[in-house]
Symmetry: C2
Subunit: 311 residues, 2 copies
């Protein structure tokens, strides 16, 4: 049974603001993906369509409107995976490309590689006809950046490194999608601008198969949270491994959130789906932006309820 669930990031610390515009955007994004499934598109087509919508929206940290690195630049990470074939594509630290998820898919489909990064990734994007000089800086992000740099003052780059506090407050809003189509094919996709004030060339979990994105014949998962912590524990693969053993996606994401808390004391958010269209979503932070569409129902919310973890 076809279904799709998407996320617009997890708020890991601090206060969650009401943001009805973002919930609206989530609803539209999941509708794009679900309509793709209705029109006969594959799970892969559906997750790409939803993620592309969110990459276009400045309300999410992906594509246009992404976080800025310490030089004020947008550098994007994304990955996509097809569950049946285990084929995967990913891009890390690429500039000027609005739809990093589409570039990741092209890397999967048109090269013998999985991950291309930096200028090489951009060169490949240009060769296959993608626009590689898009201005992805959104005014509100720029103001945030300028305020920071003022605060940082003379400690500017290169001596300045993003502090743990900064990371705590301003990472979030990565986007992702997982879907199953009528043929039982599963796919997962994740896209992000990464953390605000990151060093140039920093690549996070959203570009890493197993960390931010994973899919196999049984399940698919996309994660969000502190990328560096996620890269050490490879949460998305853990979720899919549990689903492969017969665990319901909801139980799987909750169990992995507890495990990751134990190992890293860091909040994360996950969405997951299985072949039957059962969905799961949960977080161990302050709020997870999510939306799903299944059997004619579309829901979009911020989940505030936090998975119980041992503090």
């Amino acid at each position: 049974m076809k279904a799709i669930i998407i996320h617009g990031g997890v708020r890991v610390y601090g206060k969650l603001k009401e943001n009805p515009e973002r919930v609206d955007e989530l609803r539209k994004a999941v509708k794009m993906g679900y309509e793709t499934l209705i029109e006969g598109g594959s799970a892969l087509d559906a997750v790409e369509a939803s993620v592309r919508y969110m990459e276009d929206s400045p309300l999410f940290n992906a594509g246009y409107g992404s976080s800025l690195n310490i030089l004020g630049e947008v550098e994007l990470d994304a990955s996509i995976m097809d569950g049946r074939s285990l084929r995967a594509g990913a891009v890390g630290g690429v500039k000027g490309v609005r739809h990093a998820i589409t570039l990741a898919r092209a890397i999967m489909e048109e090269t013998p590689h999985i991950l291309l990064v930096g200028e090489g990734a951009r060169k490949f994007a240009s060769i296959i006809g993608m626009e590689v000089n898009e201005d992805l800086v959104y005014e509100a992000r720029k103001q945030l950046y300028e305020a920071y740099m003022k605060g940082v003052g003379k400690k500017g780059f290169p001596s300045y490194l993003p502090s743990p506090e900064l990371i705590r407050n301003y990472l979030a809003d990565t986007v992702g999608a997982v879907a199953v189509d009528d043929k039982g094919r599963l796919a997962a996709a994740t896209s992000t601008g990464g953390i605000m004030m990151k060093l140039p060339g920093r690549v996070g979990d959203s570009a890493i198969i197993g960390a931010g994105t994973y899919a196999n014949e049984a399940g698919a998962c996309s994660g969000t949270g502190v990328g560096e912590a996620a890269m050490k524990v490879l949460g998305a693969k853990q979720v899919v491994d549990l689903i492969s053993e017969g665990t319901h996606p909801q139980k799987a994401v909750e169990e992995v959130l507890r495990r990751l808390w134990e190992k890293t004391k860091t909040p994360f958010g996950f969405i997951a789906i299985d072949r039957e269209g059962n969905i799961g979503y949960a977080h161990s932070g302050v709020g997870l932006w999510y939306a799903f569409s299944k059997g004619g129902v579309i829901e979009a919310h911020v989940e505030r309820r936090r998975v119980k973890v041992e503090e």
Copy 2:
């Protein structure tokens, strides 16, 4: 009990050539690491020392003497992980830096990030005082490259992509090391120039925590083989997970090689170690270059015996 085991890559297909010079180099490299342990260095210091030695040697595909990408350039991947803290550092697609493993360690120790790639990674290397304009092209690799490009003829970059046959014949010789020190601390390190004729910006499993490199409090593992297949199945983490459950490192590497064959039909090689200094090494290809040092004994060989997998 302190111990170290290193590898100089797996030959995945074709014929294995006798190469006594390379076995000699392996012996010297493992001696470097073991002496570091004797002098009171940590497991992390030891794996870095052994890998640095192999990065300097043109007989391995890491540092000086690395594979060339399709533009004739050396682009390096490396990663390092400290088992006790789960701290990790990695670098992908960096040019001009001889010791990618030392750069990976600096990223771990001096930034809040795990993975820096491309020009950003190089910029960081330069800021911390590393030489970033080293000529890493070894004459024999250049001749190989030129022969290829002649064969490719007018189908040159960008239309030419490395064929599966090319990848089958010329990837290998990635280097890695895993060690335990007298305090029971574990570490793993992997470094490579990646596959010959790769696209610019291609990053393989050697830069990915969980794929090519993993360590925790119980065990450490470094892998080698077809990077793209390794990135889908995260073999190094699977080996360490088995060791964490009490499996002997030798049994762990053999079991994971069988699992990965089933999933990917692709040969790999792994080395692993546990807290007690028990070691494991095995491959599912044609030969694995390895050396270990433990309790005064140093051995260096090519392991030809292949783990039995269901074909």
